[in-house]
Structures are given as structure tokens and as C-alpha cells.
Symmetry: D2
Subunit: 253 residues, 4 copies
């Protein structure tokens, strides 16, 4: 499976390294805005022992058409920002290249654009593309279904300078019909990221906790998504859509 | 729904109180070995404000036939010990009274007896009849299905004097194919009971935790089971069998 | 050491039971407002196997002078409310009976009254009279002294219906110069009480956690305080004052 | 304060970066066994924006005498292994350069050598040179002093491949007279490092937890030690010796 990556910030680099280490995926290229590393080898730059040939390109020096002509890919993974889509969206959809976007925030308008592309190819958007957080959200929803009166509170902990309530916590809250005032945010030191769903019952408590160790968790999530999206028809997907089939099957009897 | 309770130790009393407070279930009687409280009113003895008429009987003074003749029930809930079944098993099966057993340990022979009764009535056995622990077990199994290479470790904490590894931890381990040496047991002070399934990934950790607050959690679990078992055909059930339908349905779209 | 107890609500009862089980303290009497259990035996009422002779008195039927004449005590332990002091305060101070108050909230005026009594006898006020919470507070203060730039956040979890921010959390915050907005309150199910001080550093996190299991923790705290206060001069003390000597001594070399 | 660093593995590099970022300490040089990076600039190699002039040297190309003649330092910080001491020990002691060793394991013989050096200069050995772990150990010891009957259990969690029980957990256990069988080791995924001291009381639990986020915690610990050791006389010190004065002082009244 050939993959192109949009975005090469801290998270983008961690994702690139994770993809390089994976044997099923080949990282054909990375596109970033800056011209600084143009045409540098990805494995060499990251110090990753890999013989994959992928290079770094600048979006201001190479168009997506040129890139896809010379180095076609099956999937584009986007870890840039909302405007990243301007570069590759139309062309990817036209050529039926699948799209995985891990951009945290999109305006409603951009989401509509994604859905438009989804009429031509498979498009998945996941604002927190870790297996753990998405699993947690589904698992908690089932608990709520079993015990609708459970009190659910979300506790999220992040590094001191993170401003605002965690976007992931808000998504979990929306998904579980938890009021946003039931999100408690702790900001202290260098905590990478912890999300806890506290489920209170009269005589017992259930806690579902996700702790991030490093950004590479996003890389592994993107790979999981790529592997599960590759066989899918055109359409708009969420991480949850890919996880649900695992839950649907009955007990192994 | 009329209920009879076998066993009136610490847990049995907590369960009786919980059932009394529930409006859908009527606690018709409690049977215990000792003659001490024979014919005392259950609500009065427990100090529970309830106008239910149920009395306490001794198994050495009243037979189950006499009891079921005068005070028929839909379900018998057993919080006694392995031998409790000798008192009511045959007669309950014959009369198609449903059986819920929360006895922690049964010999293989007794399990076979339960399955025999299950040919005539609905029988459910749950060695840890809390919603939380049973939910956790299923949720963890799905995580293992999604990510088979996860490292799973079970951490259980209980009061200082609890001897041996927690039976519940062993059941969780068996259910998830976790080796018993991966169960870590902490014994300290008066901890009521905590079970944690630690799921290790390379770059993230998921923790599923159940904490017991009081024994009444067993009562609420028994009520949940009763409510879900009442409409079931004859057969042998586990707590999991009752929870699975909640997981089976697809996303509410 | 002879002890009298003011207050016989849920916590007062748990404290009474704990004191009965302790061999160094003798529970001479309990005083409560209601006339309901007047002159009943404390051990008998609580179902505690003890041969101590203490009885329950109503504050509206027996004055503190009559009580102290017939059943003198060394220490009065108060688990009632702010007005409890009206009953015994003056008389206790006059007779140099030591006072331990575990009342959660006092007005500034009442605190001044306590300090007045402290000119005649030893008076200790602890709004959360558990060893664990008071230890945590001191331990956290030392951490702050060692590393003044640590980010400290207080997380407190209690049962759904508890209104307002935990008074204990506020005391911890005041003690550690933590702003009250850095107290995060979780309300869910039947959680008895958990206080966590999260100390964030750039590359590590320290967490100091106290979990209450049952109200009897207050009883054990009161006994600890009684044992450490009995040899003290007149004066106004806090729980911390009794703990500090344990910290003051140097390394056992 | 001028500092020389012995060892430039993963931890050594993280420590070097932390020291570079600190304004009170100047990193004069790093010594490592390999000749690979000989005479490379430390800030440049680590990509740290610093104008400090320190270079990397190989122990096989430059002797410690040559190094200390040209680039004298106040303190040598050792993050290498047991044999690292052979390179600099004698010479550092002779010149009264202070020594901070963070080497995890030393034979009894090497410890004796360190103590010999301590007759001439200040020597500190800390097998886990983080503020958090050392603080935890002292705080727990005070709790044990206050409540000698507390049940103490140590829980340590690390990445899957870490073999054996954590050395830090063993040190904590020895320090607190906890039997080694009361250390519970969890190995799962990529957990960096977590140490928890669970203190069980009959009716409450206290938990003291240290979580490592990155190796740079060791760098900050080494800096704290350097700042507190610089004014000290010759002698053999532990991290604890530097922390105790913070605990010794009484309440700020």
C-alpha cells in the first residue's frame, strides 16, 4: 500500500517514522509548506534505518498533479491543518485516492467539502486518530446503553501550556451526551495527554482511561485506519465506523 | 416479579436490602441455614422502610416445597455456598422457577448439575455478579480483538486478609487468555475491591478499572440479571449472555 | 483515657464504634440532641461486643455539668455541628477537659470562642480528622518547598449529591497556596471520597492520593489525635501540629 | 558552575540537553567511549540553541588530566556505567572536583571506592536521580513513622521488555523495610516508568505515585543535586541527604 503524507510538523514526523517502520505501507512522499528540506530523503532525515525511497517535497515547488503522476499513492494521510486540503483535495478525489485526515479542527464548510470528495473516494476524518481514544468512546457508549443512569464525567490532563478544553474531550462528551461542564481539565507540568471517563454507579465505579505516551500513537492509529480503509468503497467514514465491525460479532462460542 | 433469596450472610443481607428498595421486584422470602431469625420480617430486621411482607426462614425448619407452595416465586437468587443448591435445585427446576446463582466457586460436578436444571428452566451462574466487572471483561475482549498484540495485565487490590488470588481476576484472565502469572495481587488495609485491566500499546496505554464501593453492588447486579433473565427461555446463561445483545446492535445512526 | 462523644449521626456512630474497639480509650458517654435513645447502652445499640458501660444521653435531658460530675472524662470529641459547642464548651474549658472538634465548618466567631477555651485547656480543631488527608497536606507542602515551581492541581471526587466543592479540598488549597479554580470536582455515583494532589513537573508527575473507604476513618483519626493530645499543655492545636514532630526528626542514621 | 558529563547514551544525551538549557550550569565537555563524535560541538549535535562551547571527547583519545587541565570543571556528572569511574575517579578526587554518579548498579567494591574518594571531595551517588522518586521515598518513610502498622505495597510499571524488578522499586523497598515480595511488577507496551507506593489503612488508602514522562527528568534531578551539592564539604552523600533539610524545618508560622 503506497502512502503520501501531508504535514511534517512534530506529529507529522512521528507519523512518518511510524509508517517507515511498518512493512505493509510504503511512504512515497511527504509534502510540507516550507521549502527547507525539499527533495531530502525521508528515512535519512529522520535517521530511520529504511531503504524506502520517499522524498520530502514543498507544496510551493511541486503540485499534487506532478507528484501523483510521478509517484502515485493509494492513500493520502493528512496531519497538516485545515488549509492542507486545498493542496490535494480535488485531485485526490478525482483520481480516487483515498483520504485520511487527522486534522483536529475543520469548519463546517470544510467538512461539507470532505463529504463532497466522499462521493468519489473513501474519506475518513478523525480528529484524534488514536486507537485508544476511539475504542474508549465506543466502549463507554455501550456502558451507557446498558446502564443509562450512570453518571459520566470526563477528566482530561495535559501539559501546563495547553489552552482551552481538550478537543478530544469535547468529542467524547458530544458522543456520549455528556454536558461540557462535566469535563474537568487538569493542566500541570509536562503531562502528554490523559483522558479518563469516570462512570459512577451507586455502589461501584468504572473508569476507562487512555494515556498517551508519545505522538507516535497517532502514527499507529493512522496505519490501523489505512489498513481498514483500503478495502472500503467510496463514502465518508469515521474511526468508529472501522471499529464497529469488531464489536458487532457475537461471543466466540 | 417475585423473588426468593437463598443465603443471608453479609452479602445476602446487602442484596436483600437492595431488592427491597427496588419497585419491580418483591422479596417473598429469604432462606438461611440458621434457625436464629426464623419467621422474622425481612424489612424490619434490616431496618428498611418497606411494606413488603417477606419473612426469613430456616432451611432446617421449612422445606422448599412448603415454601414454594405457600409463597411461589418467579426467580430464586442464591448468594449462599455450593451446598445451597441441595436445598432448592431439584424443586426449582421441576417447577420451572428461574435460578440465579452468585456462588463464587462450584465444583465441575455442581456445574453439570446446574446445566441439568437448565434443561428445564433458565439458569444463570455468575461468580461475580456486578455489572461493572462483567462489562469490563467484555469491553476488554473487544479491545483484544481489535488489537491482538496488546499486552494485558490484571491488577487486583483487596483488603489485607483476603487470601489467594481474587477469583474474579482469574475469571477475567481465563476470559481474555491472560496467563495467571500476569495477575498482580495487592493486599493492603481495608480496600474493598479493585480490578484493573492494563492494556499496553507501544505508544499509549488503556486502563479499564472497576472499583467496588459496597456489597450492595452485588444486589444491583442480581436485579439487572433478574430483569433480563425473566423473559428468557430455559437454558444455561452467563452474565455475559445478557450483556452481549447491548453490544451487538450497530451504531445509532 | 476516658472520652465523651458529642454527636451521634452517621459519622458519630462510626466514631463511637471505632472508639469502643480501641483498648486505650473508654467511651464514657455519647450526647445527642434527640431524646430517642436516652439511657440506652452504646455497645448494645451499635451491636459492638464490648463491656464498656457508656450510655447515650440527650442534651435536652441531661446538662453537661451533671454528666461530668457523674461521669468525668479526659477528652470530649465533637462530631456534631457548630452549635454543639454551646452545650459543652464553657464547662469543658472550666474543668480543663481537653476538646477535639471535628466539626466541618465554624464561623470566625466560633473559632475565636475555641481559642478562648484554649487559654484554659488543650483544644484541637480538625475539619477533616483523617490521618491520610492531614498527612497528604504536609507532604505536599514539603514538595512545594523543594520545588516551588511545581504546578499543583487538586482533584476531588465524591458522590453525586454532594453539593459544592469539598471543604477538605478548599483547606488543602489554602494550605498550599493553590487557587480555588485549580480544584476540580467530580460528582459521580456513590464515590465515598477521594482527594488527589497532582504535582506536575516538566518531565515527571507526582500524585498524592487519599481515598476514604468508610466513615470509620474519622474514628481512627480522632483516636490518633486523642492519643497525641493527651499529654499536651493548654493551647490551640491543629492536626498538623501533632504530625509535625514526626517530620521534624532527622534521618535515622 | 562548570560541569563535565561522563556518558552519552540515550539518558546522557537527554541530560546534556537539560544542562544546556539551564543558565546556572555550563556544560564544559562530554566524555564517551566511542571515537565517533570526537570534538563535535555538543549544542550543535543535539540541535540545542545554545552558545556554550562544550565539545564531545572520546575517553580513548583524551585523558581526564588533559581534559581537566584545559577545561577545568566544578562537578563531574556520571551517567555511564560502573567502569566509567575508572576514567575519572582518582583524578577528580585528587583535584577535589565534586562527583555526582547516577549509575544504576555498583558492586560493593566500587561503592567502597566512591567512599574513599569522598574523603577528599563531595561525592553523591543516586541510582535513580529524579526528584520525584527520592521525594516519594522520604514522604513514605514519614508516613510509616506516623503509622507504623500501615500495609505498604510497591507497584511498578514499565515497558514490556524491561527485565527483572525495577532497581528503583528495590531501593524504595529497602528504604521502607518492605519485603521484596510486596513489589508488584507490571510490564506492558511502552510505559516509560511508574512507581506507586500503596499505603493501606483499615478505612482509608494513601497512594504516592511517581510517573516519568521522559528521560530528561534525570537531567533535572542532576541539576537539582549539583545546585545543592556545590556548597557542601567533602563526604559521601545521597539524594536524600540533600532533601532532608527541606523537611527538617518546622511549620512556617
Amino acid at each position: 500500500m503506497k502512502v503520501g503524507l501531508i504535514g511534517f510538523g512534530k506529529t507529522g514526523k512521528a507519523v512518518a517514522a511510524t509508517v517507515l517502520r511498518n512493512k505493509e505501507l510504503i511512504l512515497e512522499w511527504v509534502v510540507r509548506r516550507s521549502k527547507l528540506l525539499d527533495h531530502r530523503s525521508i528515512p535519512e532525515f529522520l535517521g530511520e534505518p529504511s531503504d524506502e525511497p520517499g522524498l520530502i517535497y514543498s507544496s510551493s515547488l511541486t503540485t499534487i498533479s506532478e507528484l501523483l503522476d510521478e509517484h502515485p499513492v493509494d492513500i493520502i494521510i493528512d496531519f497538516s491543518s485545515e488549509t492542507g486540503l486545498d493542496y490535494y483535495g480535488n485531485e485526490a478525489a478525482k483520481r480516487k485516492v483515498k483520504i485520511i485526515s487527522a486534522v483536529s479542527h475543520y469548519s463546517e464548510e470544510t467538512i461539507q467539502r470532505l463529504k463532497k470528495y466522499a462521493e468519489k473516494t473513501a474519506v475518513l476524518w478523525s480528529p484524534n486518530i488514536t486507537l485508544g481514544v476511539n475504542y474508549l468512546m465506543i466502549a463507554a457508549r455501550y456502558l451507557k446503553k446498558i446502564a443509562p443512569n450512570t453518571d459520566m464525567v470526563i477528566l482530561e490532563e495535559h501539559f501546563k501550556d495547553k489552552s482551552g478544553v481538550s478537543g478530544t474531550a469535547k468529542i467524547i462528551a458530544n458522543n456520549l451526551d455528556i454536558e461540557h461542564q462535566e469535563i474537568k481539565s487538569v493542566r500541570a507540568g509536562g503531562i502528554i495527554g490523559k483522558h479518563e471517563i469516570i462512570c459512577g454507579f451507586p455502589f461501584q465505579t468504572v473508569r476507562l482511561i487512555h494515556e498517551s505516551i508519545t505522538r507516535e500513537a497517532f502514527g499507529n492509529g493512522a496505519i490501523f485506519v489505512a489498513q481498514n480503509l483500503i478495502g472500503k468503497e467510496k463514502g465518508f467514514y469515521t474511526f468508529e465506523d472501522l471499529l464497529m465491525p469488531y464489536f458487532a460479532e457475537q461471543k466466540n462460542s
